[in-house]
């Protein structure tokens, strides 16, 4: 454990000003207006600043300021982990860190213990201090990725916009990074605890950030006595059931109805929880302690026998489109038809009520099909997002916001398939088949090819594709 102590920790707390520009997921060659926002961060070992990933997402320029020093310094992202909402910044000017002590990373605080937050929240210019107790510790959904749950600590210390990325301290050691609240709930803020911070720091040691791995299984409580008896379990209360196998490594090493008795030394209760540092939390946490590609020792009960297995765990990249993405959107424009992957980000362009507007077909394709029909799932479902009006496409019935099933007889599993299906086709017409009982539509191939350049020019699109 690090034994450093900072005498005046506020000196090591940094104000971060980000100027960002988010892409337009509907017309992906466009971007939003440049937006300014502020957050917090703190100095860690190695002349680096730790903050939240969401403080610096889509940044075009990052400025950092020291405590009671109005001079801005330019910073850059060294590593970003969107799944754990953490980032590390470096500063161009090496003198920036002079006289600043790195804050030591502590351990998971105890429930009911007092913690202090330091940061630059909205409502004023100066540094702000708040205090509260640790209310509870459990697995929660991280808003930054949108589809990942990791360990987090709830506190009643005020955590407001601008606090994000700032340290949460106990005995002058960092026991968390302030990161999110819950709309509608009062006195409820959350911070990222040391096990997640340390995992992130360890991950980037090799110069590449991989992320938090998963076991690739659906774990179900095993409480009903009849089910336990059916599985010939001797213990009346331990072990949770493997309900579904999602990753390839899980399929290779586990079977449905295996009973998970122990993960990485943690005993698994019948409700699929483990006792972690005095907190009853979901067993998935035990898997996420490992690094990508490592093996996690598990004890399982299979068909009346106790087995010990080293289960490889991996970062799940398959559900990237279901969460918030932080890479510029891919697209391909052909004869005014704009193709882009179906993703959560794309659906949010339908408005605040996007899940209601999107319709059952798109929601199922994006969020449900992977588990329901794994053999039918598309790695990258493609939308015809819009049709840029031109005489060549003016008579088409379909004007956008539809899922593409196939083009010229080629099933579309990715944007690359769209490019191939259109550019390699030699027939007189392009035939595009859509989902949701919308049938098909056609384009005259010669006319379409002739119109491409004019359409790109008319609509100010520099490149016809971003793959």
């Amino acid at each position: 454990m690090i034994s450093l102590r900072a005498d005046e920790p506020e000196k090591s707390v940094i104000q971060i000003m980000t100027f960002s520009q988010e892409p337009d997921w509907d017309e992906p060659w466009n971007a939003s207006r440049v937006r300014g926002s502020t957050g917090s961060g703190f100095v860690i070992e190695g002349n680096r600043i730790m903050t939240n990933a969401h403080v610096v997402s889509w940044a075009k320029q990052i400025q950092v300021r020291r405590f009671q020093d109005s001079r801005p310094h330019l910073a850059e992202i060294a590593y970003v982990g969107h799944d754990c909402d953490l980032a590390i910044l470096t500063v161009e000017d090496p003198t920036f860190f002079e006289g600043l002590n790195p804050l030591p990373i502590g351990v998971l605080p105890k429930v009911r213990s007092v913690v202090n937050t330091i940061g630059y929240p909205a409502g004023g210019e100066q540094i702000s201090f708040t205090s509260g107790v640790v209310s509870r510790i459990e697995l929660i959904n991280y808003v930054q990725p949108g589809n990942r749950s990791l360990l987090a600590v709830q506190t009643d210390a005020a955590i407001n916009p601008g606090n994000s990325g700032g340290p949460v301290l106990q005995d002058d050691q960092v026991v968390g990074v302030a990161f999110q609240g819950t709309p509608g709930l009062e006195n409820t803020g959350f911070f990222i605890p040391p096990p997640i911070i340390q995992h992130f720091l360890k991950d980037v040691e090799d110069g590449v950030y991989n992320g938090f791995p998963q076991a690739g299984i659906g774990l179900s409580p095993l409480i009903n006595p009849a089910y336990r008896q059916f599985l010939k379990l001797e213990s009346p209360s331990d072990g949770a059931r493997v309900d579904t196998l999602r990753s390839e490594s899980a399929k290779a090493f586990l079977k449905e109805d295996d009973v998970l008795l122990e993960i990485n030394g943690y005993q698994v209760a019948a409700d699929a929880t483990i006792l972690y540092e005095g907190n009853q939390v979901h067993g998935a946490i035990a898997f996420s302690q490992a690094q990508h590609g490592q093996e996690v020792p598990v004890k399982i009960w299979r068909e009346g026998q106790l087995l010990e297995i080293a289960l490889p765990v991996e970062v799940n990249a398959q559900d990237r489109l279901e969460g918030n993405q932080y890479e510029p959107p891919k697209y391909f424009v052909y004869a005014g038809l704009v193709f882009t992957p179906l993703s959560r980000d794309y659906l949010t362009t339908f408005g605040q009520n996007w899940s209601a507007v999107a319709g059952i077909g798109l929601l199922y394709e994006l969020f449900y099909k992977r588990n329901a029909e794994p053999e039918e799932v598309r790695s990258e479902p493609i939308m015809l997002s819009t049709v840029l009006s031109h005489p060549v496409n003016a008579n088409m019935d379909i004007k956008g916001r539809v899922l593409v099933e196939s083009i010229n007889g080629i099933r579309i599993d990715s944007l690359e398939d769209v490019v191939r299906a259109l550019e390699d086709h030699e027939g007189s017409h392009h035939v595009i088949e859509f989902g949701e009982r919308l049938g098909f539509d056609c384009l005259d191939r010669n006319e379409a090819e002739k119109a491409n350049d004019a359409i790109l020019q008319t609509y100010g699109i520099q490149k016809d594709r971003m793959l």
């Binding site: 009903n224 009849a226 059916f230 019948a270 449900y368 017409h429 919308l438 049938g439 005259d444």
Partner: protein, 494 residues
């Protein structure tokens, strides 16, 4: 002066062409229609699909008109699941018991009978307008606190729209009105002829079942001819895009619509293919918008041709363009039948089916069940269930059963939060309906019941102790006041 004379002559010409007699004065209207417009009070069950054993009753007032043969014709809406029907003439006074003589939910029509001869004293049957006027002024008539409310409506057009209780499209008269609360089968009249029965209202527009359809159905019933309605079980798209017709090698002028999907129906011989161009139906040319020129009502969408003097089982001649050549086919109209759907649109006149076993509540997946999520059910109900509404049935997979809830009991400990899971297999047997589930639960595997759900559900399997199931079911029935553990309709509403 010249202008006035011209107006009168045009009005007279319109009257002659439409076959409608001159409008009666207000008092005449009241005298005439007081003896034909009937107030109907219906008491019916209102089922709660989340607790299918519980039932409440509700009463509604609606209207109907007297027809030949001492019967009352009205819309079928509000008559499903009925327990009592009472009728009143003159808008006040004595109520008489009535009974349902005939009902067709797809057509949205019902005939009522009243045994007491005293009821029929002074009543006279209505005259149906056929054809109905597609423009001009009409009157809406309904009983309101003992007086005949007589309000003006403007006829917009005859169109084809979704029948309120079905998945089929039927002709509807569209009218404009500033009046609120229309849609209780009020009489829509022009002079002394009925032109329709009001069925729905959206803002200032209301729809009515046109009298020619009512008249046609009544005539067939009188002549003991089948009156089951047929429909076109295919989807089509407009042919506005010349490139699509070029791709399909259609020669000559642009015409017809493109078939995109055919819905399979058990026992129905399909003669169409996706990417056929439908050029004509029953002798009428179809344009690129999917309309035909109706000799009486002008442009109407082709769905009208499934009901224009045609009934389920009739052959309808179609001309197709398939793979570069003309093709004549005879399309047999399938019968509109809720039971032919994977998730039935309705299941009227029977309590919700369910099977409760050890606290686990199983129900067939139906649209009434999905409608339990409220008016916005297509957005609020679970995505995986709503999506099944669009699934085509097959011989092996005609319908499905859902674990809709678990009534907590020590027997089902650990399963209390399981709900809205589609059942795949029970004890190794594929489950498509409740009788099949009941049979499967009689065949446990080595002392256990193994219940498996479709892949992708929140949980895919649960296990129950077979020996203790009967006792647990009895205990749950007592604790939650279920009158029975198994309710299943004999055949379901067609």
């Amino acid at each position: 002066m010249k202008q006035t004379i011209w107006s009168i002559s045009v009005w007279g010409w319109l009257i002659l062409m439409s076959g409608i007699k001159p409008a009666l004065m207000a008092d005449d209207v009241i005298d005439r229609w007081s003896s034909s417009l009937i107030k109907i009070e219906v008491t019916r069950h209102q089922y709660e699909f989340f607790q299918p054993w519980s039932r409440r009753t509700a009463s509604n007032v609606k209207f109907g008109v007297v027809t030949q043969g001492e019967q009352i014709i009205t819309a079928a809406e509000d008559l499903f699941d009925q327990t009592t029907i009472r009728v009143q003439k003159g808008g006040r006074g004595e109520w008489f018991q009535a009974s349902l003589e005939w009902i067709d939910y797809h057509l949205n029509l019902a005939l009522l009978k009243v045994q007491d001869p005293a009821f029929w004293d002074g009543l006279q049957p209505v005259e149906f307008a056929d054809p109905v006027p597609a423009t001009g002024e009409a009157r809406l008539l309904r009983w309101n606190d003992g007086r005949l409310e007589n309000r003006k409506l403007d006829i917009n057009r005859l169109r084809v729209g979704r029948s309120p209780l079905s998945f089929i499209d039927l002709p509807q008269l569209e009218l404009d009105s500033e009046i609120e609360g229309i849609g209780r089968s009020e009489a829509i009249v022009v002079g002394d002829q009925l032109i329709g029965l009001a069925v729905a209202q959206a803002r200032n527009k209301c729809a009515a079942i046109p009298s020619f359809l009512i008249h046609e159905v009544l005539t067939r019933l009188e002549q003991n001819q089948p009156s089951e309605v047929g429909f076109f079980n295919f989807y089509w798209k407009k042919s506005e895009n010349p490139a699509a017709q070029d791709y399909l090698k259609l020669t000559g002028p642009r015409r017809g619509v493109i078939i995109t999907e055919i819905i399979a129906i058990a026992g129905h011989q399909n003669v169409l293919k996706a990417k056929d161009i439908l050029l004509s139906v029953d002798g009428f040319d179809i344009d690129i918008m999917g309309d035909y020129d109706d000799p009486t009502y002008g442009k109407l969408t082709l769905e009208r041709l499934a009901t224009r003097g045609r009934w389920a089982g009739d052959q309808v001649a179609m001309t197709l363009w398939r793979e570069g050549a003309l093709l004549e086919v005879a399309f047999e109209l399938p019968r509109a039948n809720y039971q032919s759907e994977y998730v039935p649109t309705a299941n009227y006149d029977m309590p919700p089916a369910y099977l409760m076993a050890g606290g686990l509540l199983f129900q067939p997946l139906t649209e009434p069940f999905l409608r339990s999520w409220g008016r916005d059910w297509e957005r609020r109900a679970p995505v995986r269930l709503v999506r099944l509404k669009g699934q085509a049935p097959s011989e092996e997979n005609p319908s499905c059963v859902v674990l809709s809830a678990v009534l907590p009991d020590p027997y089902n400990l650990g399963y209390q939060d399981y709900r809205y899971l589609v059942v795949h297999q029970v004890n190794g047997r594929r489950i498509v309906d409740l009788p099949g589930l009941k049979e499967a639960l009689e065949l446990p595997v080595e002392g256990f019941h193994l219940i498996e759900f479709l892949p992708g559900e929140a949980v895919t399997k649960l296990v129950l102790d077979a020996q203790r199931l009967k006792d647990a079911t009895q205990r749950v029935m007592f604790k939650y006041r279920l009158p029975t553990d198994y309710v299943v309709g004999e055949s379901g509403t067609p």
